[in-house]
């Protein structure tokens, strides 16, 4: 980061902090307001499932592919899942070509934990021949436009694409096509903190000045399934607890969008 960029970033932060002191955000939202969310499913013919999610200007495509593979030795009767995220240069002037860097890896792993720990995919129904052949579910997240809050956009896109997915039995000679067996999806809710102000659904400028980030994935009962605190700032114990309570309210609303 050049001194110039650093100064610009300091100015930007000052502006946001001054707004925050008045309880305000750059785009007039309250601290507990999401930007508009859209979900479109079933877009890509070659994918077993696909979805495009936008949160404000942030746009993410998720695709699901299935293949036949060997089960892990310790779960011979269960399918497997894997989640990858790409932050390609199309989505931001700061993203680079090349193998996923630590930001993309953290993103994919947090999304993965939400899906896995909520048992959204019923892996025990993805066995073909115990110990030999199971279905492997590949979830690929491809960010197209980065305007903040990738954690929630990617989590939502992954869930929507899974809801759209079928098991391609016919293509791979393993019986009839059928829907991917699913439970209830996790809902991810992310907070950013700057200058002791904690907002949900940070847009780009808020992501950039954020000192700390807190992502919470909840199940349909509002129970915790995964969490991740990120960035170099800290939260107090009270702040953490508050974030979870706030997330429980947001998750209910977002869950409805996914059920439409």
């Amino acid at each position: 980061m050049s001194s110039h960029d650093e100064r610009l970033s300091a100015v930007k932060k000052d502006y946001l902090v001054n707004l925050a002191k008045k309880g305000k955000r750059l785009d007039g939202r309250g601290p507990d307001e999401y930007r508009p969310i859209t979900i479109e499913k079933h877009l890509i013919k070659n994918a077993e499932g696909s979805a495009k999610v936008t949160i404000g200007n942030t746009m993410v495509m998720a695709g699901v592919k299935l293949d036949v593979g060997e089960p892990y030795p310790d779960t011979p009767e269960e399918g497997a899942m894997t989640t990858s995220a790409e932050l390609p240069p199309i989505a931001s002037p700061t993203f680079e070509t090349g193998p996923p860097r630590e930001d993309a890896i953290e993103l994919a792993r947090v999304v993965d934990r939400g899906i896995r720990e909520s048992k959204f995919i019923k892996l025990d129904q993805l066995c073909i021949t115990p110990g030999e052949e199971v279905w492997i579910v590949f979830i690929d997240l491809h960010v197209l436009d980065y305007d903040g809050n990738l954690f929630d956009a990617c989590s939502l896109a992954a869930s929507a694409a899974l809801q759209d997915a079928i098991i391609p039995g016919e293509r791979l000679g393993k019986g009839e096509n059928r829907p991917l067996p699913l439970g209830s999806p996790p809902i991810s809710c992310t907070f950013a903190k700057y200058a002791d102000f904690i907002v949900v659904d940070p847009r780009l400028e808020e992501d950039e000045v954020a000192e700390a980030r807190h992502t919470i994935a909840l199940d349909e009962n509002g129970d915790l399934r995964a969490m991740q605190k990120g960035l170099t700032g800290s939260f107090t114990v009270e702040e953490i607890k508050n974030n979870i309570k706030r997330a429980q309210i947001h998750a209910k609303n977002i869950r409805k969008l996914l059920e439409e």
């Binding site: 877009l43 890509i44 013919k45 070659n46 994918a47 077993e48 696909s50 200007n57 746009m59 495509m61 695709g63 699901v64 592919k65 293949d67 990858s84 790409e86 390609p88 240069p89 199309i90 989505a91 931001s92 002037p93 070509t97 193998p99 996923p100 590949f138 690929d140 491809h142 197209l144 436009d145 980065y146 305007d147 293509r171």
Partner: protein
């Protein structure tokens, strides 16, 4: 049997394009962008730059470097593609960069690079033509000065007949495919690849068809840019 009584499996005549939809300026972060559907192909293109070329050793002292990156997302094809460039993508990125560089006034921006990102979200056949066509619109949308708006289209041969714009099965089972890109004002050839089997006469016929296809797609590109411009003006007071 890919063609019967002069009609192709998807109902097209030999010299007919698949349906094409072009939308300019669809992304918020990029300087210019374009979403394009062409038959079963779904492509997003975006442009960043001119900006300082890094690493330094790629800088050219007299001109901008055009750095196009063609990428298929893992779920765009039937068998999941592993992320990252394979040899095919590298070749397509190279010939696309070269074709686009011809029309950009690169001399205006020495030591810079212009990044052109082409993401194939869904693939059917003809993705390189779809990608280059979308990239051209994204360059225009980004306001990059160009001497012409390049456009691409393929012709090929199926069941012994020369046809325009091969679709999925026609590409797999056909006898030849020849994608080209042109600068439409002069009809110079910017990109040309060919594989399969064509006699010289078939080649001449295919080239004529591909040029015709380019002319038609060129119109759609310009309409998309016009729509974008009009929309923008409507929004402004």
């Amino acid at each position: 049997m890919l063609i019967k009584d002069g009609i192709r499996m998807d109902g097209r005549k030999p010299d007919e394009l698949r349906p094409i939809k072009i939308e300019a300026g669809v992304l918020h972060r990029a300087q210019g962008s374009c979403y394009l559907e062409w038959g079963g192909n779904k492509v997003m293109a975006a442009v960043y730059g001119p900006r300082e070329a890094i690493p330094r050793h790629i800088q050219h002292p007299l001109k901008a470097v055009i750095n196009a990156r063609y990428n298929m997302v893992p779920f765009s094809v039937s068998d999941r593609k592993r992320p990252g460039p394979d040899r095919r993508s590298v070749e397509i990125s190279k010939v696309t960069s070269e074709a686009l560089e011809h029309v950009v006034f690169t001399g205006l921006f020495p030591r810079t690079m212009i990044d052109v990102c082409i993401e194939v979200l869904g693939a059917e056949a003809g993705t390189r033509c779809a990608g280059l066509t979308a990239a051209a619109v994204a360059l225009a949308d980004a306001g990059i000065p160009m001497r012409d708006l390049p456009v691409a289209c393929a012709a090929g041969k199926i069941d012994g007949t020369v046809v325009l714009d091969l679709a999925g099965d026609e590409d797999c089972e056909g006898e030849a495919d020849m994608p080209i890109a042109i600068a439409p004002r002069t009809e110079e050839i910017l990109l040309m690849q060919m594989d399969g089997h064509m006699t010289y006469q078939e080649f001449e016929e295919a080239l004529e068809l591909a040029l015709k296809g380019c002319r038609e797609v060129s119109k759609l590109q310009k309409e998309a840019l016009l729509r974008k411009y009009e929309t923008k003006n409507e929004v402004a007071p």
